[in-house]
Symmetry: C2
Subunit: 264 residues, 2 copies
């Protein structure tokens, strides 16, 4: 009889090794298997899927406990996953989890998010991968409800696996468990960031400088779709689980473009 | 009779304001309308859709010519587009083009690419957007064939428009025009980067440091799909035109996940 192998779980994030959300995630994941953490050494929010190609990286061992190894890396969230998978780990992880992010990553924020870069990087290599985000930027946020939800979704993922090239983006309202209304399988909310740059003057050189300071604009009123959208669901106190397909090809547009008759 | 408005065209890239590919693209695009360029002030390759939130940005006017304004920005490619759209331009551009990148952005490289972040940023705001990449890293590459292809694809895009939430990723083999076999509408090649970190020792502190040095691994032998893949097409001397759908929801997986019966 084959002994069941203890799952090897890789954890990273974009809020850095010091984030409370990361350590909350570590706590939950230790009950599922052997945990290895490789997290950025500083905040790397909004770094998307950036990788470091112009400077070298460092990897530093922080501490070991039973079934837990913690490292920090000088690179981006995507670099952390690459470093773990191709330099540190002896075998492919059975699961990659990211977060718990301080702040939501619903809608198009999946595109800007370092949290979700971790997940997409794992997914490309065929590893079941899940990103978790909580609806508050508070560094001392309460992750109690989030931990219960993480635990359930991880358990279901380890049992059911995920379809090829597909990963999960989980967004959790910042509410106690008894105020949450349920868990919804969602699509991405249609919308985009309308940026409002704050303009200031450099105190010495006197040139203008600009702070990116946008607000999210929903385009949902033009959308007819029976599948609930993730940002709207979270706003209504539901946990959203959005499956992300990492092959971004617009398959439905192939035929349209064929009719353009492009030729040399 | 309504006078036809001259198209307003925004150009950016990730190889910086100094790249030959950018200036080749500017040359082509001037025949289509009024061109505004906002390009990064330094190389921002592999920056994906990163945006700058921790430090402010600067925007510098470089020069004006008839129907051409050139600016450089201290931010990422995505920042450049946001700066142009929300600070600089008086109206929404009619078209956003990115590149011509020195190096291909086929397959999953669309995820890492700053060139394609420009395009995706435009697409989210409903602007027809196209990224162009040439199959060589040579800073003095020959863009003659690429310019002919850019011209044709831009013309067709301005005529036909693009479906909602859809943009184009065009990859051009590094060959003279008469050696190219045609233009193919493609899907993304299934594959991923297998990283091989080069390890060296810091000359003073003696700790290891790591250079990310991967190679692309194709998973295509397991894929059965009649639509040609982009990387394979370019390798066979075809120009690839891959439509990208910016709503990354895995719609086909919604039903599967519903069966997990997640609940609080």
């Amino acid at each position: 009889m084959k002994t069941k192998r203890v799952p090897l779980i890789l954890i990273s994030n974009d809020d850095s090794i010091n984030a409370k959300g990361l350590h909350s995630l570590i706590e939950v994941m230790r009950s599922f298997g052997k945990v290895v953490v490789v997290a950025p050494d500083r905040v790397r929010s909004a770094q998307s899927h950036a990788v470091t190609v112009e400077i070298p990286l460092t990897l530093t061992h922080i501490r070991s406990e039973e079934n837990l190894e913690i490292y920090t890396c000088s690179g981006t969230p995507a670099d952390c996953v690459k470093m773990a998978m191709f330099k540190l780990l002896k075998r492919k992880p059975d699961l990659i989890v990211s977060g718990i992010n301080h702040g939501l990553n619903a809608s198009v924020n999946v595109i800007y998010s370092g949290t979700m870069a971790v997940v997409i990087e794992g997914c490309m290599h065929g590893i079941p991968s899940i990103g978790f985000s909580l609806g508050t930027y508070n560094p001392d946020a309460d992750f109690a409800a989030a931990k219960v939800i993480v635990s359930q979704i991880v358990e279901k993922t380890l049992t059911n696996k995920l379809p090829h090239w597909t990963c999960l983006n989980v967004n959790i309202p910042n509410k106690p468990l008894n105020e949450l209304k349920g868990i919804r399988i969602c699509r991405i909310t249609k919308g985009a960031w309308a940026e409002n740059f704050v303009v200031r003057k450099h105190p010495i050189h006197k040139h203008d400088y600009f702070w990116l300071a946008g607000r999210f604009v929903s385009f949902e009123k033009n959308v007819e779709n029976p599948i609930p959208d993730d940002m709207g669901s979270v706003a209504n106190d539901f946990v959203s689980v959005t499956p992300i397909y990492v092959d971004f090809t617009a398959y439905r547009t192939i035929e349209t473009l064929e009719k353009w008759n492009l030729s040399l």
